[in-house]
């Protein structure tokens, strides 16, 4: 019960969106709008080599020829791509050597964010502090990268994408765009042209990454799209767990966020990728001002017996449109997708996964929990497919939707394509509302309605919460409660 009590206190203290503040740190902007010169500007700002600029310009050319997709069950005013900034970097903060050198304002932002990094502790030399490696993306440029040394000892490369382009061009050239091709989709293509920064991880063969890697994304500059590009490569027999947490300040204009995440696993390697997304969901009555989150996340299980596990808790953004996917190419490779998507107010989420079985005896598991409240809409959209060569492929999918209130919507759109006689696919989905009997029971035991709802909802999403790394699970449980604040009664 302690967690519930804590949650309730938290909710009570919450008068407005927790992360709704704008910090004033000098920004270095590219001019508004998008054209080949902006792409050149970004590339030049980041001191990129010629091949990278060529790659970006090629992507931009292709993007111009593409049409914006409209098949998702989401509604939003058309985006004016010329009315946005495509590059914003904090000034004067190029390459600080330690946290002490970092602008105190920036540290203040981290503090307000309540980043549970225990970073300060670790940096202050507190004994026994847990080990995390943090690559904080403050708007577009990685400002602080810690623990590099310890990671370097075991050979793990963990740095910003711009640094990787400079320091490890051979790896970037080999893998960038190999999972999500440049012209894969409209938003991925846009990202390829204008991506600002992101994280790069390479785990060498046989290495179990000694700590959880984590990036805190934060959209900070008014009206600036954020286009991260993340690339994680787990070489043969390696393991890495990566945490991605997101918050954003409150503002009035919609912000476009079109990230691309590419994961590659070789033989016997495993990547665990966890996301907590809590961006500004927009005004609860009008939906105005929230983040547009159009993300392409895909993993390529290239090696035999490799594994990728996606876990996501999506509570923020006015529009979430993402499908973390697994291409199960290696024999006996496996993919997992655990998702909690919560929508309230006017939020819209269209999310799910794709499990593409290409290798023999590949396995996948999908657990999706959607909760809709207020006037929101929540869609699970997923594809499970088995190629004729994917003999012995196995999939289990469970999608549950919970509705809270009369005006919300929950949709389930699974696609199943089975192309051989030796695979086995199971899918089940249910849609129900919060049980009155259970609510009554909990309230009869002395819980307030709000507490009872939180208790039941936490039970509903437990299957997914327990897949999260410990630190994230606690945070996520609180987020679930906060997101549903005021949705009952």
């Amino acid at each position: 019960m302690a967690a519930v009590k804590q949650t309730v206190e938290h909710v009570a203290s919450l008068e407005k969106y927790k992360h709704g503040f704008v910090s004033d740190i000098e920004q270095d902007f590219a001019p508004k709008g998008l054209n080949a010169d902006i792409v050149r500007f970004i590339s030049a700002k980041k001191n990129e080599p010629e091949w990278m600029l060529a790659w970006r310009l090629d992507a931009f050319e292709r993007w111009l020829a593409m049409d914006e997709p409209d098949w998702a069950k989401v509604n939003f005013p058309r985006i004016d791509y010329q009315d946005s900034y495509y590059y914003a970097a904090p000034k004067e903060k190029v390459g600080p050597k330690s946290l002490d050198e970092v602008d105190p304002d920036l540290l203040e932002v981290y503090k307000k964010l309540g980043i549970p990094l225990r970073e300060q502790e670790v940096l202050a030399g507190v004994e026994g502090a847990p080990r995390y490696a943090v690559d904080a993306v403050f708007d577009s440029v990685s400002v602080v990268t810690t623990f590099k040394k310890e990671l370097a000892q075991v050979g793990v490369i963990f740095c910003s994408m711009s640094e990787a382009i400079r320091e490890h061009p051979e790896l970037v050239k080999q893998y960038l765009g190999s999972v999500v091709p440049v012209s894969d989709n409209y938003f991925a293509c846009l990202n390829a042209a204008v991506f600002s920064d992101g994280s790069f991880v390479y785990v060498p063969p046989g290495v179990r990454c000694p700590m959880e890697l984590s990036t805190y994304f934060r959209i900070n500059a008014e009206n600036s799209g954020q286009f991260e590009r993340t690339l994680i490569i787990a070489d043969k027999g390696s393991y890495v767990s990566y945490l991605e947490g997101c918050t954003a300040p409150m503002r009035d204009e919609n912000q476009l966020h079109a990230a691309v995440v590419e994961l590659v696993t070789m033989d016997d390697a495993e990547i665990k990728y966890s996301t907590v997304q809590n961006w500004y969901p927009g005004d609860p009555e009008t939906g105005k001002g929230g983040i547009y989150n159009f993300v392409t996340k895909r993993a390529d299980c290239r090696g035999d017996r490799s594994k990728v596990s996606w876990t996501q808790v999506e509570t923020g953004s006015s529009i979430t449109w993402k499908y973390p996917s697994c291409i199960l190419r290696g024999n006996e490779s496996s993919g997992e997708f655990y998702s909690i998507a919560i929508t309230n107010g006017r939020q819209q989420a269209d999310t799910g996964t794709k499990m593409i079985h290409l290798g023999a005896n590949t396995r996948s598991r999908i657990i999706s929990k959607g909760i809709s409240a207020g006037r929101s809409s929540n869609t699970y959209r997923g594809l499970v497919s088995a190629h004729p060569k994917a003999k012995g492929a196995r999939n289990f999918t469970q999608c549950d939707s919970l509705l809270i209130g009369k005006h919300c919507a929950a949709h389930t759109v699974p696609y199943i394509e089975a192309r051989n006689g030796q695979s086995k696919f199971e899918h089940e989905a249910t849609t129900t509302r919060l049980s009155e009997d259970q609510l009554f029971y909990a309230m009869q035991r002395g819980l307030s309605q709000e507490e009872a709802v939180q208790l039941l909802v936490n039970g509903f999403v437990k299957d997914v919460l327990q897949e999260l790394p410990m630190e994230f699970a606690v945070e996520a449980q609180k987020l679930v409660a906060i997101s549903l604040e005021g949705s009952v009664g």
């Binding site: 098949w71 004729p388 003999k391 939707s401 509705l403 809270i404 209130g405 009369k406 005006h407 919300c408 919507a409 929950a410 949709h411 389930t412 759109v413 699974p414 696609y415 199943i416 394509e417 089975a418 192309r419 051989n420 006689g421 030796q422 695979s423 086995k424 696919f425 199971e426 899918h427 089940e428 989905a429 249910t430 849609t431 129900t432 509302r433």
Partner: protein, 342 residues
């Protein structure tokens, strides 16, 4: 933009194709480069008997699109009608059939698709059920391996009405059997079942869409199928519960067996829910025969082929058992047994 208008205008560009979301697995535009010339009229008297002739009070034949049919049932009347949709030759044709069942009328439609040739046929049916009307529709689709058939039924239920449907098909070159139901709630009752048994290079697409518009409606759906060789089955089931359609209870199940390495099953069981006090669920499984059950049967001395046929028949039998009309149930059971080689 529809199959009927493509046949009328003979413009193949009007055919739906894989770029249309609802037809992504039943691509007609990619298959038919040119809409065939209109089919010649048929001499109905020369046709052999249909599968349900002996069971019906009334017989209606739509041959190569000729003979626009209407079935009417008076208030309180009970009748059994055999509706034969016959296609012959390599032409194209479209037909419309309307069915009106008045208050408390009781109708059993025994519908058969009988095809020979490389035709393109479309049938549009409009069924309207008044208060307390009871209709059971059983469809046996025996099309030609070269034929292309599209059957599109639109069903309007009044409160208190009951509609039950069972589709049984052996597929065609391309075949789409579509049922769209407007469900008013108000204790109206709906059952939409289906069975497909596909072999060779045959294709069948069972598509349903049910919209629950108001409170207290129930829908039960169970579709099962078996594909072998290079056959391809498509199941698309959509249940929409509109805002305010509380106490809706909708259940959908689709289960398929793939008995060869080159057959394919594509499924999309969809729920679109805008009301909170509902109970909706769907289940979908695709796989091979249960090896344990097979082992058990063989251990009891059953030859493998017999064991497989028996297990497959039992798998399909669950749907056939739900048919109310006894005579029709026997006819389709025999049809299924013949296809399964039991």
């Amino acid at each position: 933009m529809s199959v009927a208008s493509a046949i009328k205008t003979r413009d193949a560009a009007e055919l739906p194709g894989k770029r249309d979301e609802d037809w992504r697995w039943t691509d007609l535009r990619g298959l038919i480069r040119q809409v065939p010339a209109p089919s010649a009229a048929l001499d109905v008297a020369s046709l052999p008997a249909g599968p349900f002739d002996a069971l019906a009070d009334e017989l209606l034949v739509v041959a190569n699109g000729q003979g626009a049919a209407h079935i009417g049932v008076e208030p309180g009347e009970t009748k059994v009608v055999a509706l034969r949709i016959v296609s012959r030759g390599d032409g194209s044709h479209a037909a419309r059939v309307s069915v009106d069942v008045e208050v408390a009328g009781n109708l059993t439609i025994l519908e058969s698709y009988e095809g020979e040739g490389a035709y393109l046929g479309q049938t549009g049916l409009i069924l309207s059920l008044a208060k307390d009307a009871v209709v059971e529709r059983i469809i046996l689709a025996a099309d030609d391996a070269e034929g292309v058939t599209v059957s599109q039924a639109q069903v309007d239920l009044a409160p208190g009405a009951s509609f039950a449907q069972t589709v049984l098909t052996g597929g065609a070159r391309r075949q789409r059997l579509e049922t769209i139901v407007r469900h008013p709630g108000g204790h109206a009752d709906l059952r939409l079942d289906g069975v497909y048994l596909l072999a060779d290079k045959r294709h069948a697409d069972l598509t349903t869409s049910v919209t629950h518009a108001a409170v207290d409606g129930t829908t039960q759906q169970l579709t099962k199928g078996v594909v072998r060789d290079q056959a391809r089955a498509v199941f698309q089931g959509k249940i929409i519960v509109a805002e305010g359609a509380d106490r809706t209870d909708a259940r959908m199940g689709h289960h398929a067996l793939i008995l060869s390495d080159r057959a394919e099953v594509d499924a999309k069981p969809e729920l679109e829910i805008y009301a909170d006090d509902v109970s909706c669920a769907h289940g979908n499984t695709v796989g091979a025969l249960d090896e344990d059950a097979l082992f058990y049967a063989r251990q009891r001395g059953m030859p493998e082929a017999v064991a497989r046929a028996l297990l497959t028949e039992a798998f399909i039998g669950e749907v056939i058992d739900r048919i109310d009309h006894e005579g029709a149930r026997d006819v389709v059971r025999a049809w299924a047994a013949e296809r399964l080689g039991a």
